[in-house]
Symmetry: C2
Subunit: 470 residues, 2 copies
Amino acid sequence: MQRTHIADIIKEEGKTVTLAGWVHARRDHGKLVFIDLRDRSGIVQVVFGPDVAGASELRLEYVIKVKGEVKKRPPSMVNDKIPTGAFEIGATELEILNRSGEMPIPVDTDGFDINEERRLQYRYLDLRRERLKNNIIARHKVIKFIRDFLAERGFIEIETPNLSKSTPEGARDYLVPSRIQKGNFYALPQSPQQYKQLLMVAGLEKYFQIARCFRDEDTRGDRQPEFTQLDFEMSFVAREDVMALNEELLIAIVKTLYPQKKIQEIPFPRISYAEAMQKYGTDRPDMRKDKNDPDLLAFCWVIDFPFFEKVKADAAHSEASAQEWTFTHNPFSAPKPEFMADLLAKKNIPDILTTQYDVAMNGLEVGGGSIRNHQPEALEAVFEIMGFKKERIYANFGHMLEALSFGAPPHGGIAWGLDRLVSLLQNEPNIREVIAFPKTGDGRDPMMGSPAEVEEKQLKELGIEIKKKS
Amino acid sequence: MQRTHIADIIKEEGKTVTLAGWVHARRDHGKLVFIDLRDRSGIVQVVFGPDVAGASELRLEYVIKVKGEVKKRPPSMVNDKIPTGAFEIGATELEILNRSGEMPIPVDTDGFDINEERRLQYRYLDLRRERLKNNIIARHKVIKFIRDFLAERGFIEIETPNLSKSTPEGARDYLVPSRIQKGNFYALPQSPQQYKQLLMVAGLEKYFQIARCFRDEDTRGDRQPEFTQLDFEMSFVAREDVMALNEELLIAIVKTLYPQKKIQEIPFPRISYAEAMQKYGTDRPDMRKDKNDPDLLAFCWVIDFPFFEKVKADAAHSEASAQEWTFTHNPFSAPKPEFMADLLAKKNIPDILTTQYDVAMNGLEVGGGSIRNHQPEALEAVFEIMGFKKERIYANFGHMLEALSFGAPPHGGIAWGLDRLVSLLQNEPNIREVIAFPKTGDGRDPMMGSPAEVEEKQLKELGIEIKKKS
């Protein structure tokens, strides 16, 4: 279908155009029918005289095709609020492409006052609102910018598996029963951590991925069962190299895509974990000097975290009872070079600092990463400090230790929470506003009705059954 | 670490450079040690004299950092096979960054003669071989090209959920038990079909995604449990629009990234399903005029498929016994316009042709798509022809029918099998050669050891148990 995007009519004064879109508003004045026609690019007023059949049938959100002349509106009638406001379309032809029932939720508001369950049930309508459309487009632009930036610098995007293996560290895994290997399970990855390190062992040197991650966590405010990370990893680098590239990328995103925003301090200030806790009482300090300025971005790096901490009594680790120490951030991290001897000797454990670097913005964590242990004895020492027995280490991480024994290069990387970053840049209160099809806080999708019961036959094929409630 | 990529030394004659990489080959001549040093960018010979400590310790796949002078080799010693072959490095400093055990598989061959189970077990070494590295880089380039091409034309990349809902049509779903809603399951998506249509209902007009898809199928040659599609969808289009854009993109990929390849016929020839079956006995005809030319690409479109076919006796559909007709390609497709009346009247069923268009290359299917039914009564008629009862239609597809009732625009799209396309362009015999971490034919990952048993506690939390073998 040849058509003009509504935003482009401002270049077509006096010409006849064909537009297609949705009836966003209508006013029926008897002889004349006025509608606001909406497509992805914008909104324009269309005027139907009595000679155009069908105009009085139009209702909100009908999908129509309109042919007409682009006319300049008289100066007193110009609508300054929209880019096409100086023009209107004098319709000569109308075709109704699809009708619409009455909207269960309005789509011409910002939507904040609508019950969120209902917004999610009708997400395909909710996304019609200007605010959400803009968020989805902004997300696309941020991610495209990241991809272009990294590809330009020699990074290769590589897809890693979503059907992976459960490891009983970190958060809870989502499991996927295997039909062919009954009684066995895949796990959805909590992050591509191991795969990206294996890609460094493979010699690919610069990897990135916009990666889907899965964590089966209890409802906690701004979390989602699946979320998106920018994940990247580099070989032959030290901590400064990764931090510098990150900082450059974050600054470039803001300057290019959000020129109205101000970064409070460049280079980003750095603060040690100890100082952050002492001065701010948190490891993601909000350093903004003016908390009322919605366009102020105060990035900072937090470094020099302790590598280990005492296991908490309520920890979810499966051998928690036997375990005294756990990692604070990532078991695959290297200690700062001056602590390597202590790590290998397993002494002065609480004093060992990790190479971990976290980047925070306005009090929220945007990303975190580290230089990794590229020598197997260092990684093994981490697990030994955590009290893991040899057989457990080899059962869960044997493939990583073995991989490091075949010429692993020094490497490090970072992962960003992209949903969080985009929501902050868009001044949105939560990540659900920048995800096309998010789930509720308790992991449901009211639109599709998932999760849902499945047919008995499916479970039988998988060799599993639902436990009777006792 | 400041270092020069090996491929760049040809611009550095007479200068001192620092290189980092892997020992690809070594020849110890006593006083002199020669190694071939490999990084992602290339290979170069490094010569160590007796004054450089550590050179005699070097073994294959050690990771080293070398400082030395870029020297021109005498003409008789130039190695024409590699781009750096006119140069060598006279080493002055050596640092061993990591050692390597003996390689369990060679990495300096094409790898075709190595047992594939073993290749997959050591995939992080397998990927070191030139052929696989090139495949992974080529895949990145093809996908980057697609993204740039579509973004340039106003398409927005939108991520759709991987925790979705099981629908008992098509292939078998992978299920994910829900811990919070015990007894209920998510399903991993077989494709983003419904989500992308809902994005059209949302008015986003031009969507694409490099999407992960999951199908739990029995071992069949060149299949993988998870695979990657280029998925896209457009609003306000007819069949010709989608086909034209696809053809333009496929031609652009070949001409830009594979200039040595020849496309046999442009525009791509079109053949009806009936003619393809009659002339070639297949619906993905291999139209190459010279089957021995590895650089000849014969694309063709296959169109005018029947919409419905009789259900086969062994069909996996859950109500198969009650079901006479099923769709040949996609239940969401629209019929060709001249058959819409028959579809709505549910008559002349075997004669109804679908808008489906498949694109094949050299006898293999690259992609397929269709214009969709954007009016709910047409979609409902499809399910009625398939013999589904009202309650089943509404239970499984009620959200789609409802969505179409709120002003869905005319829309259509396509999905490509990207693994297949890249493997064909790279002249690889199967898709595993262009996937970083593929699984075996029976869905195992010998490197990670997945699928695997999980802890009893994990199953308990999910409220499921493994069925005792009877």
